[in-house]
Symmetry: C2
């Protein structure tokens, strides 16, 4: 499978003319071929034109047809075999087991959405039959379903070259909803992107869908990224990345003549609350388990535990001792890109030079390129409450422990937090009251609240919420992981007194696909 | 029931100190007492503080308790009796039957949401039980429900002093979702607002809810309106009004440190397509029925049919003749306010002075104050496609007929339309093919597509969509009428491995309220 370094626009591979984008192997700083010539307005225009042309046909594909397409993508990705694993490892510095797992997650996610499409709950069919005899006014026949928003622009993320990238959760849920997708590849893994993009191209062809259902562009955020978000044919955006990147896309989308929704998953420090009884009974164990979560994948997860909050005292001291020791022994992993490694070091330096943060431990520096040196710092609650910079996300394996006088101060720190993807309670039975006092705050602050686990590890399922109040995401009403992610790309349409022959299939009296419907407010399976 | 002219903040009636706001009876231009002293930052601050204080308790009220509260509001509104009808008539110029009907709609809507709250579908409960034996990794226990966004600011609309105002659809759906509400009264009907606001105050007291669940403020859009939207404790906004007003609120909400959703229902000209066979078989009947819809309530409905699109020819000529005659005989109704009457006349003048618009008929001028003189104009499709000003909403009983060469041009005009609340097809059986060709365009352009009815008349039910792509609304993913409106004020939260005792009631294994749940992706009634 030879990489060609071209834009994938519809069924074509197109040579663009911009500056060459090269991946870099972060463990060697070696440049990887081929170069990908950056696209420009012309490629954006062509991809959006094809996507728009494909939209009306693709959004009306039958449930079975669309589900089969998602499964075909998964099959085609698996069929690439080892070259995909090898290229993703080279472009990300991530170990083999992680990339293999991520491929499984990516394909499993596509198949989950295939099941969701078939079940048809996402159509949210509602039927209020006509009541011709009603007084004082008859009721007309009213039927609602959800329809696809339109072509969606998806931005590949740096930290999941497969699961949050070309065929990741945003693409899978948008395609499931009936939206054509134009992906802007992340410049850190262009080869992985090409391999996956060609797999989708093959699936489009095998399923005989209009070619514009999928395109993959390479280029700069300014030209290709902004070009996509401001194109009038793009109707929604999926993004996972930095707060500044996400905010820029939201602003561009809001400044359009027709503003569109942007689902940006941005930044989160994922607070972990160590409650008193848990700290008393198992401080050392917690410290070790915490550092295992913190250092996983060099801390490059959206759900990395970047903040720990607990009452001062012997329990917390024991936790800090155990965690500090674990940090000192924490293996240093290669980070995703030299740029991420630099940013990490700057974030750690800011903590080192902040008088209010006290260094607890640093991990081994590592002897390869771009390695992440783990770090653990501590600060008082009073300082945390008065210094917003202590809430800044340090993307990587560094965390800050906030020492509080009592549970009231713990709650004040919780109230002071920005919006988060997750909030974690480490608690024993005797902590139930303290947990109950914190829960309302955590529900307001986070999309996922957990007990006695660690935030890394995001299950792809129906109940997952990978989302949360701003700035964790730009839209707290949604999730970017799990089957509910499909709702991001849908809007309701009501059909009034339409002749049966013109009604969409799911709204016909005969309900040929057998989807769940709300009839006169009552659920019919 | 004496009106006091005060702000209703929590359980109190508070005298503010700003300039006096007086309603004006539009049929007499007479000033109505009392004056309402405009509020300022201080009143906004107090109302938001109370709302925030009430939030955690109110959002966790049980389904039955919250439903009973909504019903209590309806009961209290009905208990006001004739004084409410009389005041609303005086402040709006609307006839008695309309106001009585609107009261019925308002109370029916509150009771509909009571039923919705009890049924609990809005919680969208999803449970993925733990799979401790799963390979290669066990699955944790994951449960999702929806929670209220937070306190909501609601802006009363001018054209529905009851159904889209203090206890209208936005308030009812926000309260149903568990959100405290702070209403900014529309300055055109402050007395009606006070009567309804006091009814809600009484319901809050009778149901022993925290007082901050509801407040009602009077004042300017600049001070009180912007003050509410930019207050950090307000987490969503409901608005029905002009495009400029809605856009200003969206911008203010997006500029906050924590941006929040704004549900603004703004402008729509509600295109009506007269298909060839229908036009051939019943042009005169269509012309008369169209004008009845156009002139209903002086054309002051969001769904007023402001645009008609058809092929040129004998059928359309017959339609224009009949509609023109009906317009000439159309009763002139009093408009809601002198300001709306002035804006209407300016909109009509713009059509009169536009060379591309040809006057078909004008209605009688009327001999009272602020009366709406109906109007009908026509323009060619080519001119409509080239002159954006012909798409501007004229709020009132004036419509524009677009004459097309053929169905291809009809489709081009449809594609050229901005987002709409509704799109209507007048069609006979022989028009099925033409209708089928238009449907995909109309689904993309409108929230409600109907056949052989008129867009005025919005049923409050489960399948209704009163929404649509921008600029019909600021968020096409929602509806502001009907039970699905509750979803605007909710966000999902996932609970991972939480002890049963800490789980919210709807997520407990025992499912005490018996709400519908999605367990492992399968619907359980």
């Amino acid at each position: 499978m030879t990489l060609e370094g071209k834009q994938l626009i519809g069924a074509q591979a197109v040579a663009a003319e911009g500056a060459l984008i090269h991946a870099v192997n972060p463990s060697t700083n070696e440049r990887l071929d081929p170069g990908y010539a950056a696209g420009s307005k012309a490629e954006v225009e062509r991809a959006c034109d094809l996507a728009w042309t494909a939209f009306d046909q693709y959004r009306e594909t039958g449930l079975e047809e669309r589900a089969s397409f998602l499964e075909a993508i998964a099959d085609e990705i698996e069929a690439i075999g080892e070259p995909l694993i090898e290229r993703a490892m080279a472009e990300s510095g991530l170990p083999q087991a992680r990339i293999q797992g991520e491929r499984g997650r990516t394909c499993g996610q596509l198949r989950l959405f295939a099941g969701v499409v078939r079940a048809g709950e996402w159509l949210d069919v509602r039927i209020d039959p006509a009541l011709p005899e009603r007084q004082p006014m008859p009721r007309v026949d009213l039927r609602q379903r959800h329809v696809a928003l339109g072509p969606v622009a998806v931005f590949g993320a740096s930290n999941f070259p497969l699961a949050f990238s070309v065929a990741g959760g945003d693409t899978a849920s948008a395609l499931a909803a009936g939206c054509p997708v134009v992906v802007k590849a992340h410049s850190a893994h262009p080869g992985t992107s090409e391999l996956v993009g060609r797999a989708i191209q093959r699936a489009v062809e095998k399923c005989e869908l209009p070619e514009g259902v999928f395109s993959l562009l390479y280029g700069s955020g300014r030209e290709v990224g902004q070009g996509l978000v401001t194109d009038s044919r793009i109707k929604a955006v999926g993004f996972t990345g930095s707060r500044s990147g996400g905010t820029a896309l939201v602003q561009a989308a809001q400044s359009r003549p027709e503003p569109i929704p942007v689902y940006a998953e941005m930044s989160s420090i994922n607070p972990v609350f160590l409650l008193p009884a848990a700290l008393q009974s198992r401080a050392a164990e917690l410290g070790e388990a915490f550092v295992a979560s913190l250092n996983l994948g060099a801390g490059q997860f959206c759900t990395n535990p970047g903040l720990v909050i607990a009452e001062k005292g012997e329990g917390l001291n024991n936790f800090l001792a155990a965690a500090g020791e674990a940090v000192q022994g924490a293996a240093s992993h290669t980070m995703l890109t030299p740029g991420i490694h630099d940013a990490y070091n700057k974030g750690v330096d800011a903590l080192v030079s902040n008088d209010k943060a006290r260094e607890i431990a640093r991990g081994p520096a590592g002897d390869g390129d771009n390695q992440c040196q783990a770090g653990l710092f501590a600060a008082s609650a009073a300082d945390f409450l008065s210094d917003e910079s202590l809430q800044a996300e340090v993307f990587g394996a560094t965390s800050l422990v906030i020492e509080c006088a009592d549970q009231d101060e713990v709650k004040r720190v919780a109230e002071h937090l920005e919006g988060q993807l997750t909030a974690t309670l480490q608690m024993d039975d005797a902590d139930a009251e303290a947990a109950r006092a914190l829960l309302p705050v955590l529900e307001r602050r986070a999309g996922r609240v957990m007990a006695n686990g660690w935030p890394t590890g995001v299950e792809v399922c129906h109940a997952m919420v990978h989302g949360g109040p701003y700035p964790a995401t730009s839209d707290s009403r949604t999730t970017s992981v799990g089957s509910a992610a499909i709702y991001r790309f849908l809007r309701p349409v009501c059909y009034q007194n339409l002749p049966e022959a013109l009604l969409p299939e799911a709204l016909k009296d005969s309900n040929p696909a057998g989807v769940s419907r709300l009839v006169d407010g009552k659920r019919e399976a």
